[in-house]
Symmetry: C2
Subunit: 312 residues, 2 copies
């Protein structure tokens, strides 16, 4: 039987301006990016909320790809909309508008058929809601979560309580720094590991991501992209590739977490090559396999013991 993989998070409509163009009301949100990336590797169960203005038909493509939309609730009101603008070098972004709409009152209710989920990803929502999701899952094998500075500042105690119940925290470097109060990302990661998670993934944007845990430290560089189009959703696509690889293999060994990091990084690199989730409409098994092999080539080197002497 297939291992079940559940994601709970936002389902949004993004309007993004980059130096290369703009989109209006494009598919976005953590659960959407996660699902688009993850479903290329493994079936996904998605839980989220949309307003009755949501172009639901555009989520149907996910249903065609083994994403179970049973947990997507349609509620009277406006869908969550985010509008943002990136700087010329894509290094900074400014939020122009956030309209939470029906997402403001999101109370994730996990459908009965999803409560046996074995692999669970808690997208970036209020940590109280993330804890509430865990209460509804019977016996998860692996729980991973994301968060953001807003919750680190505003709901620190609840977030720390949540960390005692998750196996993997995925954050970016500024979040790791803010959460731990330590500017060194490796010390920050060690601090996070003391709060509960057995593993922590610190994402460093274009530079790559590091996995730290008791069994070792692993670094995957960012894929060397000459054309980055829209960085939105890269972190959630990373999480989708990461979790979906773990779920499809059902293997929680350290060696397999390393591979999951590479699949995550591959999915993150695809996400930024087009607006919204558009790139995931273009790729399949062949492109993913190729990119993972390119990661392997990117970092490979062999030590030649006879060269290791002083003085040539």
């Amino acid at each position: 039987m297939t291992v079940s993989l559940l994601v709970v998070g936002s389902i949004a409509l993004d309007s993004v301006q980059t130096p290369f163009g703009s989109t209006a009301d494009a598919l976005g949100g953590s659960a959407v990016f996660f699902s688009y990336a993850g479903c290329l590797l493994h079936p996904v169960q998605i839980v989220g909320v949309v307003g009755n203005d949501y172009p639901f038909d555009r989520l149907e493509r996910l249903a065609e790809r083994d994403v179970d939309l049973t947990g997507v609730t349609k509620v009277d009101g406006e869908s969550f909309r985010w509008k943002g603008k990136y700087s010329y070098d894509l290094q900074n972004r400014e939020t122009l508008e956030t309209r939470l709409g029906v997402f403001a009152d999101f109370q994730p209710r996990i459908p009965e058929s999803f409560r046996d989920a074995e692999y669970v990803f808690l997208g970036n929502i209020d940590p109280e809601l993330q804890l509430g999701v865990l209460d509804q899952i019977h016996t998860p094998k692996l729980v991973a979560c994301d968060t953001m500075n807003y919750w680190i500042q505003g709901k620190r105690d609840v977030l720390l309580e949540l960390l005692r119940h998750v196996d993997v925290l995925l954050v970016n470097d500024s979040e790791a720094r803010e959460l731990s109060g330590d500017w060194n990302v490796y010390r920050a990661a060690r601090w996070i590991l003391e709060q509960g998670p057995r593993q922590v993934v610190v994402k460093q944007g274009e530079y790559g991501a590091v996995l730290m845990g008791t069994e070792g430290t692993f670094y995957v560089p960012g894929y060397p992209l000459e054309d980055v189009f829209d960085p939105t959703g890269a972190g959630d696509a990373f999480a989708g590739g990461f979790m979906a690889h773990l779920a499809r293999s059902g293997d929680l060994s350290h060696e397999n977490f390393r591979r999951a990091m590479v699949y995550g990084s591959a999915m993150g690199s695809f996400a930024v090559e087009r607006f919204s989730v558009d790139r995931f409409d273009e790729i399949g098994h062949a492109e993913i396999t190729k990119r993972v092999r390119q990661f392997s080539d990117l970092v490979r080197f062999e030590i030649v013991p006879e060269q290791e002497r002083v003085g040539g």
Copy 2:
């Protein structure tokens, strides 16, 4: 016969303030960091200038380690002094004072015994002087150089002329961006390759460094240091490890350039663990070998083909 490795660059006295302490008139300069790191792998010939106030006896440690100081000229006047202060997170530094002293009139004269040098590193000095050095070398096998924003802005044409005569350019990411006028480091690197060098190394500080050339792209992450003490000299120590590994092996294959990147990154990581060149007084073959193996472990992963199917 041993392959000869020559470095031309600054020999300075650095006064550095970090959150962890400060030094006054400590050994510094590109040629000094290069030599301290490089000589742990291979003999080095150094060309530079010092004032008659320089604590020359402190360079004698280099002589004990197969660094040929024949090319260090002592001139009446003050030695080159740099004073700088790092921010609390070591991410930014402010130059408090630069006194060029005798370095202002530095005209590198390569001793007769160094003119057969096969591997040459041109540290960050005026590109006219870098070209002048090359005129004095008979038939180098590999020429690498560094530069900085000051020369990119002030002597762009001479720098571009220099690039037509070097095999490898080592720069940091901001320099690559400024030189090429492109904020994407991979496009910037490709632009640089079109100017002459067969390979370009873009250093990205704590994140690592990328090698780009016609035979492939290689990424080495930064070593995960929990305690960074003083970033000064990391780039020159990188260059020392990189060039010294190439020289000791006499191997200019792409595979060996990958290894050189790792030895460079290892030396850069040692440099920042103490003030000045102090860390290089503590390490030898065992520590270097260990760190290079840690780099290998940091990035290793194996693809399992039977996992590469969709839908677990």
